[in-house]
């Protein structure tokens, strides 16, 4: 296993963007905040973009409302800004930036747009990447730490820009929804037959009102298609650019490690700059000398003896045995992961007894992830 040196990654002025990704429930949001805090306190000017933080974590970062603007975090030695993504507002801003005020107003008022901007599968992922592009373009910070949305598939955010591009290029949406555009081209007859069949189908299914809404929307969006596609391409390029580092966050659970595997393979396949994997919440023990089997056997032997001393020692040895066995299981899983991914750098973070939700906790977590990896027992 090659250890992942997070400290060097954070300190390196060439690191401009860190994208934390992984499946839900592994502590990705908290870890992203901890990395941002540590980098800021080590002298970098940092902004962290979080998607859906726990209430108390948001409070500790001074994020009282979802206002889509980075705010300076109080109580930090150095410069840390934090913001929470407002998906709908980001989408509105994109629309406003790419078309005339009149067209923008039409689009924003369209019922189909309103539904699309708040529930399109992938909107959150796309908007997170869009916001990342904006923050990067502003040049105000020298490090941006992004937390990715808890996607249905952990990989959705990678596909989001591409998918949007496909949507914009889609023959379907152009031909069916804007029939006027198809006129005058070749294959007119074929297209016409297809069109009338499909338009009839759509009308039958959806009713004319919705179809009219969609057509109005597409007609209004048409002027900004080019701008949006360029934007999507630029975002995709930014993710591959030198200076971007992907950190995959996992927990030592079979499902989370399996997701991390998919993630790592996918990032490598797409030639995305993978820094490594952080396995969060690893059980640790203060008494590695006494193994689980040894502790359990000793506890059983002590049960045979009477007396308070023996009972006390037996109880505590059982707690230790349980811990050692969890630790062994987790270590075996992580070892399996590194066997399957020999070239992937790995860091592990100990489990904290308490929930991390304030700056002190984030500082402690940031320090833990930067500790040199413990030597692996043979």
């Amino acid at each position: 296993m090659t250890p992942l040196d997070i400290e060097t990654l954070l300190d390196d002025p060439k690191t401009k963007v860190i994208v934390c990704c992984g499946s839900g429930g592994v502590g990705k949001t908290t870890l992203a905040a901890a990395l941002g805090l540590r980098a800021a306190e080590r002298g970098r000017s940092v902004v962290t973009l979080t998607i859906d933080p726990a209430r108390r974590l948001a409070q500790s970062l001074g994020l009282k409302e979802l206002d889509n603007v980075p705010r300076r975090v109080a109580g930090v030695k150095g410069e840390l800004h934090a913001m929470m993504l407002d998906m709908k507002r980001t989408f509105d801003e994109v629309v406003e930036a790419h078309t005339t005020p009149v067209k923008a107003a039409q689009i924003l008022a369209n019922p189909f747009y309103q539904s699309l901007s708040s529930s399109f599968a992938g909107t959150q992922e796309y908007m997170a990447m869009e916001k990342l592009g904006q923050l990067r373009a502003s040049g105000q910070w020298d490090l941006i730490v992004v937390d990715t949305p808890p996607a249905r598939s952990a990989l959705d955010f990678l596909d989001a820009p591409k998918r949007l591009g496909r949507f914009l290029d889609g023959r379907f949406i152009r031909m069916v929804l804007v029939p006027a555009k198809a006129g005058g081209r070749g294959y007119a007859r074929v297209v016409h037959v297809g069109l009338s069949l499909l338009t009839a189908t759509m009308t039958k299914l959806l009713g004319t009102q919705l179809l009219t809404d969609v057509q109005t929307f597409v007609a209004a969006m048409d002027t900004m298609f080019g701008g949006l596609r360029e934007r999507a391409d630029a975002t995709a390029a930014l993710l591959r650019a030198p200076g971007t580092a992907f950190v995959v966050v996992a927990a030592p659970e079979p499902d989370a490690l399996r997701e991390a595997s998919y993630f790592v393979d996918r990032l490598v396949e797409e030639k995305m700059p993978l820094a490594g994997v952080v396995v969060n919440r690893m059980q640790q023990t203060a008494v590695p000398r006494i193994s689980a089997t040894h502790a359990a056997a000793a506890a059983d032997a002590l049960d045979e003896l009477a007396g308070t001393d023996a009972r006390l020692a037996a109880g505590l040895l059982r707690v230790h045995a349980e811990r050692m066995s969890v630790q062994t299981t987790e270590k075996r899983r992580v070892d399996g992961f590194s066997l399957a991914h020999p070239n992937v750098q790995l860091a592990s973070v100990r489990a904290f007894a308490r929930d991390v939700h304030d700056l002190a906790g984030l500082r402690e977590l940031g320090a833990a992830v930067c500790q040199p990896a413990q030597p692996t027992a043979e």
Partner: protein, 337 residues
């Protein structure tokens, strides 16, 4: 409902969910939602019933849980319940579901194929707002109400649904559809699905672990579902820890009042090293164990606020199919099925 009746008479006890035919299981990511859904489907199948377990996030998590090959878009038998029940599973593929849906309700054979050729199916399932959710809920609705010769094909349908953050929007998608498409067959279909989801035949259960965020999301999700008039079911606490020490010792451990000299004597009796590192290390581990249990107790108390039945499942140290049977047994003991 011959299956359901047979089940009831065999067991002679009321369960908490008599009359519920659609069980929706949600939960924050990482809380073991899929495991809980599978265990519930198995628990509900006991006594000769048939249940269908529906997976909608395309991860093939059910196939892994039941240790079978990846599920195609078809209902497959995945487990036999005690006393002759059967659990079927279905992994929904949204594209296939859309073609099937169009054909079933609107007899759009050739037009459906045309849509696919032009990218319409992909458009509809990945781009169009909520279409995916409409299809998933539509399929669950169809399976719940499917009858052959006046008998329900499944006594219960259990859905491994999207996580807590999306569950209310997911289940409510059809009312959004109904307000977008105000007339026509889509409108009628959407209204019927909403009627089932809001009826006493549906219960949305929330899986959680005893950690801050999952517990908070559980409470928030229940409130949100309530606001949408969607009936909530049980809170299912997964991976709860059992106390390893007697109460008096737990108290001493959390107060930092363990008798270290007595511990040293006890360790020596067992022939174990009893230097300061070992003594302090064991005391710290006991204190952390006590703290963990007290956190879990506090969070469990918080879960009582929404006034839903609470079932508790242990953290089992296995990943094989036996675990699902063990958890299903625990659910039945607690009245879930």
């Amino acid at each position: 409902m011959s299956h359901a009746q047979a089940g009831e008479s065999r067991h002679g006890v009321d369960t908490d969910w008599d009359g519920v035919r659609l069980h929706v299981v949600t939960g924050k990511g990482g809380t073991g939602k899929t495991t809980v859904a599978a265990s519930l489907a198995l628990a509900l199948a006991a006594g000769g019933r048939r249940t269908l377990l529906v997976e909608c996030e395309g991860r093939q998590g059910l196939a892994r849980l039941f240790d079978c090959p990846p599920l195609p878009y078809a209902e497959r038998r995945v487990a036999a319940a005690p006393d002759g029940g059967i659990v079927y599973a279905l992994a929904i593929d949204p594209e296939e579901a859309l073609v099937e849906y169009l054909d079933m309700y609107y007899h759009l054979g050739p037009a459906g194929r045309g849509l696919r050729r032009l990218g319409g199916i992909e458009f509809a399932t990945t781009i169009a707002p909520g279409v995916r959710d409409v299809l998933l809920t539509g399929k669950a609705y169809e399976a719940t109400r499917r009858r052959v010769a006046d008998e329900y094909v499944y006594d219960a349908v259990v859905m491994d649904a999207p996580p807590t953050g999306r569950i209310a929007r997911f289940l409510n998608v059809n009312s959004e559809v109904a307000s977008l498409a105000r007339v026509g067959p889509v409108n009628r279909q959407a209204e019927s699905i909403m009627r089932l989801i809001r009826s006493p035949q549906t219960a949305v259960h929330v899986a959680t672990t005893l950690e801050e965020m999952p517990v908070q999301e559980t409470i928030d999700a229940i409130a949100e579902l309530h606001a949408h008039e969607i009936p909530t079911g049980a809170i299912i606490v997964n991976r709860a820890h059992e106390p390893l020490l007697p109460t008096a010792l737990l108290k001493a451990a959390s107060a930092g009042a363990i008798d270290l000299a007595a511990l040293a004597r006890g360790l020596k009796e067992a022939g174990l090293p009893a230097d300061d590192d070992v003594i302090a290390g064991l005391a710290t581990e006991a204190a952390e164990h006590a703290e963990q249990l007290s956190t879990e107790r506090r969070l469990k108390a918080k879960l009582r606020a929404p006034d839903r039945p609470i079932y508790t499942l242990p953290d089992l140290d296995t990943t094989d199919v036996g675990r699902i049977y063990a958890l299903a047994g625990r659910l039945r003991e607690q009245g879930a099925a």
